[in-house]
Symmetry: C2
């Protein structure tokens, strides 16, 4: 008999197979017992008919509890009403481990309860679908960048200095010195871009922000591609190609999961380059026209980002923000130095910023001035200044936030569901 | 004219191309000037003959300094003596940025100097080769696991409790509570394995060890696959298949880089499953026969691991260590409870342990006893105990250390060269 998994039942139609999984649900209709079994690759319904299986097997099928571990055998039958297209006619059943009083029942639970049981919550169909889409998003990003010749160069997490001030940094003692958890690998990929031309880092990043919103985590994943000999236009071109590729791969490979989430895929199907591009000035005008109380020079809050993003069917690039509200390393627009050659990508449907990036200053004196003007510790940035001393070239890149991208693609409200074990202001357990 | 990269010159033979890169080296033979240019995808030699290019271009070619940024144009000629198989007959040259007194010269530098200039050192041919092999190793691991149906589930870095004591943990303040940087994502992938069947996490891990050896970093990357319904033999089978796949992909895709490193590839070519397997008892006997002063119950030090690894041509699994020297979550061998169902994979050629793993206890009472016996804070492990309360099944997995694996495949002495920005006891800069 074949030991297989639910995702591969199509290869075994008409044959008897054995599966190893967990009881997702059961229901009974007198002489027929239905057992829904999940094994991580899918969910299948096994049907036991009294008299056609030994009495002890039928009795066991009747007593099965939610999330008990079971090994089941059965005949694979095609059934177009079944979720995966196949059903099992049960022939045998073994209890591997009985689960008693599984805490997450089909009734409604509050988010705090579910988050405290995240280690079990990940087994439910909705969370399962979201996390499979997350894995697909990460797969699509790596596949795209690898195919385009980007070299993965992992940035360090433990860093000696703060990129943009220490107020939102997690600090740790590093053998007597202070060290901080990285908020971004960008400065480091700027160094490796000068060695490899096109690079990316992809890892966890940290922000000790006291924000308690549906878009904030203290620990989140970011992919950061960086290109030497590239400008703002190259950065936006890469961003739209990457996002288009990710959305299309998820649509192709994870249609069943999107269905579980009841995601409107028509909206996603059109996410292909080119994306609209507007200047910061145009974005301010757009917001003012919508009655927002905002003036040139103000930074966007989440409601502004959402309002701009919702004005378009596709993600929209907003470029050339005022230099004063952006980070010290941004390259000024030579034709208009009060704005920076930077761009954010705002997702539609209320999801706000998913990409932030731009062209980095490659001029040594300008960068020195910026470091001084921002009161940053010069010694900590000497190595970064070196990149402008030895073969400095225009370069550009961006960071794409994984959790916000996954939330948007899944069409779900809160980023806390897009990562296996979310870390938030009031939560670090489990 | 085509703007291309050195890695793709073969597609442009006989045509004129433009390249964007940096000066790697220059040499002169009177009327002929040779300029070695690198662009991240390779190194090419451009040849300028006085009189056949404008005088100002020839003059510039003569004055070029190491690591200056240049845009060069030239005719692509096949030349089997050239490193990449092609040379350029220079037709034009533009200086993008002049580098003066580049600190890393062809003369010898000490490791401290080079590590302090790591942001520039990554541009040198040797470091370039090592880091490309690292990227390939990471690519091979993900490709293998994705193809085998493992789902990527990122484990958190910020964790509330210590897996194996707090003495080697980096601590941080988490909004008033203590949090620690993860040493391993294992406990978390045990949870997701019960949801997805086969999973892995792949990210940075941290150990605040005061070790100053050639095999230790404080921040290093680890891939940790975990399988539900799996035992020690499944774990070893997965480990040898993964390592075999990684080595063969590097041999296939990174032969030029292995050549730069002068790696003996005959030794690597034979790294295919099955790998030899010996028990801890046999390993002790082997060491005693070699005159080592070691007794049953002792843990292996680095010299022991190296001695065992060097006794075989391929990596060797040592399995069933004494339970007392292994972590609290190990499953005891039912036929011999004093040993644990665990295995380490020791690489040949003096590289020691690259994999550690095994079968995890799935028995609730046993795990509770172990947590108590190890004086671990029970509350912090309640969620982990839940995995044994609800549908507990045999499961197994391992952690593969990226830096040690890369060091072995590259045949280099110290792990500090295998990661873009190494973090060590006395080093967190750049």
């Amino acid at each position: 008999m074949n030991s297989t998994c639910i995702g591969q039942l199509a290869d075994h139609e008409g044959r008897e197979v054995t599966l190893h999984g967990w009881v997702y649900n059961t229901r009974s209709s007198g002489a027929v017992q239905f057992v829904l079994v999940r094994d991580g690759t899918g969910i299948v319904q096994a049907v036991a008919v009294r008299g056609s299986v030994p009495d002890d097997v039928f009795g066991l099928a009747q007593r099965l509890t939610q999330e008990s571990a079971v090994t089941i055998s059965g005949l694979v039958r095609k059934d177009r009403r079944a979720p995966g297209g196949y059903e099992l006619t049960l022939t045998n059943l073994q209890l591997v481990h009985e689960a008693r009083d599984y805490p997450i029942t089909p009734k409604e639970h509050g988010p705090d309860f579910l988050l405290s049981h995240r280690h079990l919550w990940v087994r439910s169909a909705r969370q399962h679908a979201i996390l499979r889409i997350r894995a697909q998003v990460e797969h699509a990003i790596r596949g795209f960048l690898d195919d385009q010749g980007f070299v993965l160069t992992d940035s360090p997490i433990l860093t000696p200095a703060a990129c943009e001030g220490t107020s939102t940094l997690f600090e740790t003692d590093y053998f007597g010195d202070k060290a901080y958890l990285s908020q971004s690998g960008q400065l480091y990929v700027e160094a490796t871009a000068m060695a490899f031309g096109k690079v990316y880092c992809f890892g966890p990043t940290f922000r000790a922000e006291k924000s308690k919103t549906r878009r904030h985590l203290t620990e989140f994943w970011m992919v950061e591609p960086e290109m030497a000999y590239a400008d703002l236009d190259d950065m936006m071109a890469l961003g739209e190609q990457l996002v288009g590729h990710v959305v299309q791969e998820v649509l192709r490979e994870r249609s069943r999961e999107l269905e579980v989430l009841k995601r409107d895929t028509k909206l996603l199907a059109q996410i292909e380059p080119p994306f609209p591009r507007i200047t910061y000035d145009e974005a301010i005008a757009l917001l003012q026209k919508q009655g927002e109380d905002i003036a040139w020079g103000d930074d966007f809050g989440a409601p502004h980002e959402i309002a701009i993003g919702d004005s378009f069917q596709k993600p929209v690039f907003v470029h050339r923000y005022p230099a004063q509200i952006k980070a010290f390393y941004m390259e000024p627009d030579p034709s208009r130095p009060e704005v920076a050659l930077c761009a954010d990508l705002l997702a539609p449907e209320g999801y706000g910023e998913i990409i932030g990036g731009g062209q980095r200053t490659h001029n040594l004196e300008l960068l020195e001035d910026r470091i001084a003007a921002n009161n940053l510790p010069r010694e900590a940035f000497e190595w970064y200044l070196d990149l402008r001393r030895y073969g400095s070239v225009p370069h550009a890149g961006f960071g794409l936030g994984i959790e916000r991208t996954v939330a948007w693609i899944c069409g779900i409200e809160h980023v806390r569901e897009t990562i296996p074990f979310p870390r938030m202001l009031t939560r670090i357990y489990p």
